[in-house]
Amino acid sequence: MKKGLSVIKQAREVLEIEAQGILNLIERIGSEFEQAVEMILGSKGRVIFTGMGKSGIVGRKIAATLNSTGTPSLFLHPAEAMHGDLGMVTSDDIVIAISNSGYTKEVTTIIPTLKGLGAKLVAFTGDPESPVARESDLLINVGVDREACPLGLAPTTSTTAALAMGDALAVVLINRRRFNSKDFKRFHPGGSLGDRLSVKIKKIMLTGEEMPLVCIGQTIEETLSEIDRKDLGASLVVDERLVLQGVVTDGDIRRSLLQRGDIMGLQVEVVMSISPKTLDEEKTAAEAVALMEYHGITVLPIVDKAKRVKGIVHLHGLLGGKEFRLNGS
């Protein structure tokens, strides 16, 4: 009996501490929060969250909330950023770095590059004097007074506070954008986003004639025409047995055109990306979205074990940017 009471008491204490952590944020919301909102509203780019460990998970959730409420957003893993993913950041983007201590090495390491790229930096941190806070254009103080977990084994109150601040940001942005039920439907065409993302890919992928598809050896001009026709911004490149050989995007062609001049008569393999990311049709839409967000790509070929193409999914299609269909074919 005593043990039971102790468990209940402990659990209540945890909730009390976490609730208090959020309540204490109320007075900390000030002009910098307003500036962050204006910055996002005035931005032509995306809101990119970054953070390690549990802060990273919080960043992913806030990015998902912003995406579903009209603010383009994605998550950038700080460690992966140093291995090429920083390429997804542009000068139009706003990066929100989440680090309770403000000293997270992986985050502080990428800050100079982010600033070099011209992206604006907002810090979600609990220490206004930390390196992450100092290097940021704006500081949102998400500091808490006490963690609920003993010995700092896992961040608790601090991650709850960061998540709540992210929700505050999302809700304010919804209101400022006058996001209404029509918009919500636009971003959630298939009912609740959660329901939709739990669907298996084979149910929602584009197949058959709707797939943008060219064969090895076809020209870039023919590929461009296929991309244009299918309107996904990319085309799959296959061999005669429909085995995936690569992916080519309109961006690949544009860049090659600028570098090499007239390329329209060249074969598509000159510009295609080999070894593209792929997924099995038995996976869920949520896994497809996560993979695409993680790698900063917008189309994903769906293949079988022999790498034969079964279909294709597009990020906007999954998140509601295009009309959602329950079977592409």
Binding site: E13, D145, E147, P150, L151
Partner: protein, 316 residues
């Protein structure tokens, strides 16, 4: 006001080493300071718990301050408990300490730690602190511990600073932090009252509380006299500021084990902390004697429960 940065982390509630005549054990003081300094983010001198500040007397406190500050040389911030039995005595002690600072030209960070309810009621506290803080250009830290006030056996209505009084006190810029011992509900109320002062820190004065739900400002620790390195590691882990090199695979289980060790250690000295810790340090030859100030003397005869524990865990 001298701009002093409050530390975040481990503040060692230092014992006051005494020789058998009741004077300061100078060598012992230097030895214990040398032991804790590499691991401490701050040191509390003459504190009401481990420092036996209630039983030292003003002259002794001034001497202790002089000797300890000469050794510390500004390496870490010092917290000095200034509370005496009356307003006048407290102001007088503060005046003396201020004189030492001026005469020695001490440039290190100092915070005056005060338990106002030890000698003053909640009523009129704001006006009192306006006067007290005008004496010196150093900042003040409040010490709230209803248990301590109860020990003083004064006919005071309250052992805790009232929440609305604390809110008023937080308007005084020179009051920068609070060391807290008490209920979670009260500290939550205090935090709410202080929400217009995001720079204001609340340190845990209760080790058991800190090990369960750590304050992110830090801890004033008694056990750090014995195990400063472990307390430092656990504190930094709790605050999420461990160095990169310390986050090796399996470090979480090590932190868990260290936490369990500190809890076991705490159980050993919980009942009679000052004498038990002093006895252990004296057995380890860090200080000359386990002698305690008059107030603590009554407990000196017990067998130290720490001796076996120390031998088992190779504490040095």
């Amino acid at each position: 006001m001298v701009a002093n940065k409050l530390p975040r982390g481990l503040i060692v509630d230092l014992i006051t080493p005494l020789d058998d005549t009741g004077g300061i054990d100078r060598e012992g003081l230097n030895a214990i300071l040398a032991k804790v300094l590499p691991h401490a983010d701050g040191i509390l001198l003459a504190g009401p718990q481990m420092g036996e500040g209630r039983g030292l007397g003003p002259q002794f406190k001034v001497e202790l301050f002089e000797k300890a500050s000469a050794f510390v040389q500004g390496k870490v911030p010092l917290f000095f408990w200034i509370s005496e039995n009356s307003i006048e005595a407290t102001k007088e002690l503060l005046d003396h300490l201020k004189g030492i600072l001026e005469s020695t030209g001490y440039r290190g960070t100092i915070f005056w730690l005060d338990s106002p309810l030890a000698y003053h009621s909640n009523r009129g506290l704001y006006r009192y602190y306006q006067d007290l803080t005008a004496i010196t250009d150093r900042a003040f830290v409040l010490y709230n511990d209803a248990g301590l006030i109860k020990l003083l056996e004064k006919q005071l209505k309250r052992g805790n600073i009232r929440t609305n009084i604390l809110k008023d006190l937080s308007r005084i810029e020179k009051i920068v932090a609070l060391v807290f011992r008490g209920s979670l509900t009260r500290v939550n109320n205090y935090q709410k009252a202080l929400d217009r002062r995001p720079d204001f820190k609340i340190y845990d004065g209760d080790e058991a509380r800190f090990l369960e739900h750590p304050s992110l400002s830090g801890i004033v620790s008694m056990g750090a006299n014995l195990a400063p390195r472990i307390w430092s590691t656990v504190t930094r882990a709790s605050l999420g500021v461990l160095e990169e090199g310390e986050r090796k695979p399996g470090y979480l289980s090590q932190i868990w084990e260290m936490g369990q060790f500190l809890k076991d250690l705490m159980d050993m000295y919980r009942r009679n902390p000052v004498w038990t810790v002093k006895k252990a340090l004296s057995d380890l030859k860090t200080i000359k004697s386990p002698a305690c100030a008059a107030m603590t003397k009554a407990f000196e005869e017990e067998q130290s429960p720490l001796a076996e524990f120390i031998a088992k865990h190779h504490i040095e």
